[in-house]
């Protein structure tokens, strides 16, 4: 029997009585002892002795019977078949007779279970549930569709919101199919709207500091300014173009009214951008006067104080007409405390936080309309059919006589042509002929609308026309589309704060609607008199699809639907019932990937938001990497991948600039090209380290795009090639003078198989590689030789060291490590020119398989020179091959293009961080 078993047995038999007997050897002594004992109690009669023996035995037996064998727990005494799972956790699982003892035993370590004293039923009761929801959205803002999403999506907490990342069901391909042939719906309400009000010229003057015409149309673009179109623009810090960009925004002017110069502008920005954008806007507009919410009438109490805001549903009907049979127990309870109100809008903000800033000098008012409107995005060619089925233009008969109706607050003198306007919009919306519109029959795709078209509408409550079953919206043949929308059709009451609030406050509750439905004579029929509150002003904004490149034009076009807050679910469910797919954050990334558009903030490494995201991502990836056991990790050092989790853009750009300058100087010595001298001197001046920028200048992009196109490759339309000056060394140099430290957004499509991944390296093929490629098309591509990980020995040394370090912790352990460092440092390393000696200080935080800071030369680390990295990569369902999107250094790209033969121009190699295999890819710069 093993020692453990003996121990166990001892423990078990601890309380059991042993036989009372005398062994042969001890018998005599015992007898003596017994005799002695009897001699002491010699006079005692036998009966006394006997009685004592009996009592001793009884005692022993009692001990055996009452004491449990198991030491640990009470239920050790229970027979096996009566033991239950988690008995020690919950004493109620014990038999009742043991519960008291168990409770007494557990009393010392009292559980905190008392907190959940409410039953589930009580917790799920409406009021309590609402309170709970309100508590939970104090930290992160919930969208109005949050509950709907939370039941179906993996939720992530991002940017201060709770957002659905991806559905819990498998729908990657169906979602793609929806985007390319039907309709995909997304809730983009987390996008922040900033409203600017003021004189037109002053607004434009202020905003022009933040943009540049070189990067495309600005805030002042004529079409956008009229209010017919939504514009998009990349904003920069004031006066800093082309450096220090902030990020892309979309903007929408309110159509002019009555030749008034007072204008209203909405700027929609990503939440991570808002924190940079808002102070910048305030600085530009000189709006530093924060207006406290209650003072300014522009800010409604609803906005300022969302918790005290009256609930969206009308409160009166339930009290006024109690449904027989239901007890109104809560009404008395509600009277005691303030009743819980549904939070609409931003619940995380303090009611006293200012949302309005005003300038006394320029008269511009900035309004933060975050969460004031709901924004849904419909992507796909059939999104207009979905909208047409869901939305029904409001019937206008009551607008003439409304007194207590929805728009009672509307200043009608402000829109004298209100009714006419309604009518026209209805006509446009119904895709019928109207003398204002140029009609094109037979347009079947959403993408055929001019991009950014805005359509203001007043529609009926879509819940009234909710189909009983989910149906797929199909395009009707008679459908007509409009080419142009007159300016007054873009007008909407949604621009009016008071109307928005009114509509939000007067929304019919679901409960009330159901009651009305139940009172309809024919069940299931439509509610005939449309309730007055059931009219909602909305804005439809067309979103352009893929605009760049030649293939798949206008893929992923769609509509954005802007609603007043509080109406989110009222529109969401009817839209879902039209057979749309719902996408999350993941899908919006894929959407922009298929559009070959950079996605904010992932693909904006020069913007503050992009930098922040990159840092977050790096930490996240590193954390994930560290969770694997070291033996199961990819050794990125061996793969020659310096930075698998982040892209050191700055270092890349600097190195390439250095390379180009060196090259130039050499040539200058050779005095082959005289023209470079000038550019060199220019570059010398720009020696000072600057931040990287992403080239967004249209002209330069067009030039680059022309240059990377192989001139003789078939299948390429020779579009505009003639316009582009041919690539020469002098042209490249002059280009570089302006864009030395720039990166450029490129799309790469793989020739053969292979799926590019996040942070794949984009490298320059050597001449031999290109020769091989020409010979055999099926050739997979070159291989990277395996690198040596000479940090491994150092880590080993450190693993041993701590014992030594512990003994000599006060004195520095550096010398020991240094000693072991030298042999490894002297190892012949074929690729790295610079050995990271300095990193030995940080050896303690060496991670096996990752290159420690500082990185060696990123460009020349591998056998193929690195140009850049991919920020997104996937198998593209639209083109049927692997596609990657990323940035390359402009300097690197130009030098590569210069050295490549004409027929192979624009061919690069792409290598995933966890692979040694290079794949050929074609580079595309699309403008």
């Amino acid at each position: 029997m093993s020692a453990a078993k003996v121990k166990m047995r001892e423990k078990k038999m601890r309380n059991q009585p042993a036989s009372v007997q005398y062994s042969t050897s001890t018998l005599n002594e015992d007898r003596n002892a017994q005799n002695g004992d009897t001699s002491v109690t010699g006079k005692l009669p036998v009966s006394g002795l006997f009685a004592r023996a009996r009592s001793a035995e009884v005692k022993a037996m009692l001990k055996a019977v009452t004491k449990t064998t198991g030491s640990s727990h009470l239920f050790g005494a229970l027979p096996k078949h009566m033991r239950r799972r988690a008995m020690s956790h919950n004493t109620k699982r014990l038999p009742r007779r043991l519960r008291d003892v168990a409770n007494r035993m557990a009393g010392s370590k009292k559980k905190k279970e008392q907190a959940k004293n409410k039953s589930r039923k009580a917790r799920r009761r409406h009021g309590n549930l609402l309170l709970e929801f309100n508590r939970r959205q104090r930290k992160n803002i919930w969208l109005e569709t949050h509950i709907w999403h939370a039941k179906r999506f993996h939720m992530v907490k991002k940017w201060g919101y709770c957002l659905g990342d991806r559905p819990t069901y498998k729908c990657y391909r169906p979602c793609y199919r929806a985007m390319s042939s039907h309709c995909l719906l997304q809730d983009l309400s987390y996008y922040c709207c900033i409203e600017l009000q003021g004189e037109e010229d002053k607004l434009l003057a202020a905003l022009s500091q933040m943009t540049s015409k070189q990067a495309g149309p600005t805030f002042a673009a004529a079409l956008c300014l009229s209010g017919c179109r939504q514009g998009s623009v990349t904003v920069y810090r004031a006066g800093q173009f082309p450096s220090q960009p902030l990020g892309p925004v979309t903007f929408l002017w309110r159509p002019r009214t009555q030749d008034s110069t007072h204008r209203q502008l909405w700027i929609w920005a990503h939440p991570t951008l808002k924190q940079d954008l808002l102070p910048e806007l305030q600085a530009v507009c000189q709006c530093c006067e924060a207006v406290l919410p209650p003072v300014v009438p522009v800010v409604t109490p609803a906005e300022a104080n969302p918790i005290l805001e009256p609930e969206s549903r009308p409160e009166n009907p339930p009290e006024a007409k109690p449904v027989p049979g239901t007890k109104r127990k809560r009404s008395s309870k509600d009277a005691g405390g303030p009743p819980a109100k549904k939070i609409l809008g931003d619940g995380t903000r303090l009611p006293t936080t200012p949302v309005t800033w005003k300038s006394s000098s320029t008269g511009i008012v900035i309004n933060d309309l975050t969460m004031e409107m709901v924004r849904y995005r419909l992507i796909g060619p059939q999104s207009h059919s979905v909208l047409a089925e869901t939305l029904e233009a409001a019937t206008q008969h009551e607008s003439a006589s409304t007194t207590g109706g929805c728009f009672s607050h509307t200043k009608r003198f402000f829109f004298p042509s209100c009714f006419l306007f309604c009518q026209q919009v209805v006509c446009v919306y119904a895709f019928l002929s109207n003398h204002h519109c140029v009609i094109h029959p037979g347009i079947y795709s959403t993408g055929e609308l001019p991009s950014g078209t805005v359509l203001g509408l007043t529609v009926d409550d879509p819940r009234l026309t909710l189909p009983t079953k989910k149906v797929k919206a199909l395009p009707s043949v008679k459908q007509l589309m409009l080419r142009g929308v007159p300016a007054h059709c873009c007008q909407s009451f949604l621009w009016e704060q008071s109307v928005r609030d009114n509509v939000t406050d007067n929304k019919i509750s679901e409960q009330e609607l159901n009651r009305m439905r139940s009172e309809v004579l024919v069940p299931g029929s439509r509610l005939s008199p449309t309730p007055l509150q059931g009219r909602v002003p909305i804005l439809l904004v067309h979103q352009p699809g893929k605009q760049v490149g030649h293939e798949m034009n206008s893929w992923g076009a769609g509509f954005d639907l802007l609603l007043p807050k509080g109406w989110g679910m009222a529109f969401w469910v009817p839209l879902v019932y039209r057979g749309v797919r719902i996408g999350g954050l993941n899908m919006s990334l894929k959407h922009s990937q298929n559009k070959a558009a950079p996605h904010f903030p992932h693909d904006y490494p020069d913007c503050p938001a992009g930098v922040r995201l990159q840092e977050e991502q790096e930490a996240e990836f590193l954390d994930k990497f560290k969770r694997h056991p070291p033996a199961k990790r990819t050794n990125y050092i061996k793969h020659g991948c310096l930075a698998p989790f982040c892209c050191p853009w700055q270092q890349l750009a600097e190195e390439w600039e250095l390379i180009m300058r060196d090259g130039g100087e050499e040539r200058k010595e050779d005095s082959q090209i005289q023209t470079t001298t000038q550019t060199d001197s220019v570059m010398e001046e720009k020696m000072t380290s600057q931040d990287i920028t992403v080239t967004r200048d249209r002209k330069s992009l067009r030039l680059l795009s022309g240059w990377c196109r192989p001139t003789t490759s078939k299948g390429q339309r020779p579009v505009r090639v003639g316009e582009v000056p041919p690539l020469s060394r002098s042209a490249a140099m002059s280009f570089l003078a302006a864009h030395g430290m720039s990166l450029v957004w490129v799309r790469l499509s793989l020739f053969s198989k292979g799926k590019p991944e996040f942070h794949a390296m984009l490298c320059v093929p050597t001449a031999e590689d290109l020769k091989l490629l020409g010979k055999k098309q099926g050739n997979g591509g070159p291989q990277e030789p395996l690198h040596r990980d000479h940090f491994k020995s150092r880590i080993k040394c450190w693993k041993k060291d701590p014992k030594k370090a512990a003994t000599s912790s006060v004195s520095s352990t550096k010398p020991e490590c240094k000693g072991s460092d030298f042999p490894s440092a002297s190892d012949p390393d074929p690729t790295t020119s610079e050995d990271p000696q300095s990193s030995s200080q940080a050896s303690s935080d060496l991670i096996l398989g990752l290159w420690p800071d500082p990185l060696p030369s990123v460009t020349s680390h591998c056998s193929r020179v690195t140009l850049g990295w991919a920020t997104q990569g996937d198998f593209s369902l639209s083109s049927g091959c692997g596609e990657a999107l990323g940035f390359v250094s402009v300097a690197g790209l130009l030098s590569t293009l210069l050295n490549q033969p004409l027929e192979h121009r624009g061919k690069l190699l792409l290598r995933n961080p966890n692979s040694l295999h290079y794949r050929f890819a074609k580079i595309n710069i699309e403008v």
Binding site: A18, Y22, G48, L49, F50, R54, S55, K59, L62, V65
Partner: protein, 167 residues
């Protein structure tokens, strides 16, 4: 499983001279039982007796012995117990006979019975006492018959035992 199921016989060894009891040990008792079984039931009985027979507990002061027999054949083996007339131990032949007090399915029930039985015995001894001294001693013994924390159970046993006194 069923292979481990046994029957526990709680027996009392009755001897004329109480001091002789001290000489006993469990091996001697086991040999005596086996010999008796062999005598009454032959080789078959002896074979049955070798399988799962053991002396679980022996108290030489009180003469209480706890025997385990296989459940399958405990009646057969039990029938041999009255034929034990003497136990040979350490060169002495002690004349005695076994009186079976209780048959239980577990040691625990036997222990419980033994508690009851012993207290009962003590109570019975009380009126038979010749002098006050003895009486006092037995009273002390009775009072001593309880664990510090197990008093309640002991009292229960006592109250039960009083009802069974007619046996």
């Amino acid at each position: 499983g069923s292979s481990s199921v046994g029957r526990y016989l709680l027996c009392e060894i009755n001897v004329s001279d109480k001091s002789q009891l001290l000489l006993l040990d469990d091996r001697a008792v086991a040999t005596a039982v086996k010999a008796a079984v062999a005598r009454t039931h032959g080789d078959y009985g002896l074979a049955l007796c070798t399988i799962r027979f053991s002396v679980k507990y022996l108290n030489t002061h009180t003469g209480i012995v706890l025997l385990r027999f296989p459940k399958r054949c405990y009646k057969l083996l039990w029938s041999a117990l009255p034929f034990i007339t003497s136990i040979t131990t350490r060169g002495h032949n002690i004349p005695c006979f076994l009186n079976c007090l209780h048959v239980g399915g577990t040691i625990r029930t036997c222990q419980k019975f033994l508690i009851r039985y012993n207290t009962q015995q003590l109570h019975r001894m009380l009126p038979k006492c010749k002098n006050e001294e003895e009486k006092q001693q037995i009273r002390e013994a009775i009072l001593d018959c309880s664990l510090e924390d197990g008093t309640k159970e002991a009292f229960e046993e006592e109250s039960e035992s009083e009802e069974d006194e007619e046996e």
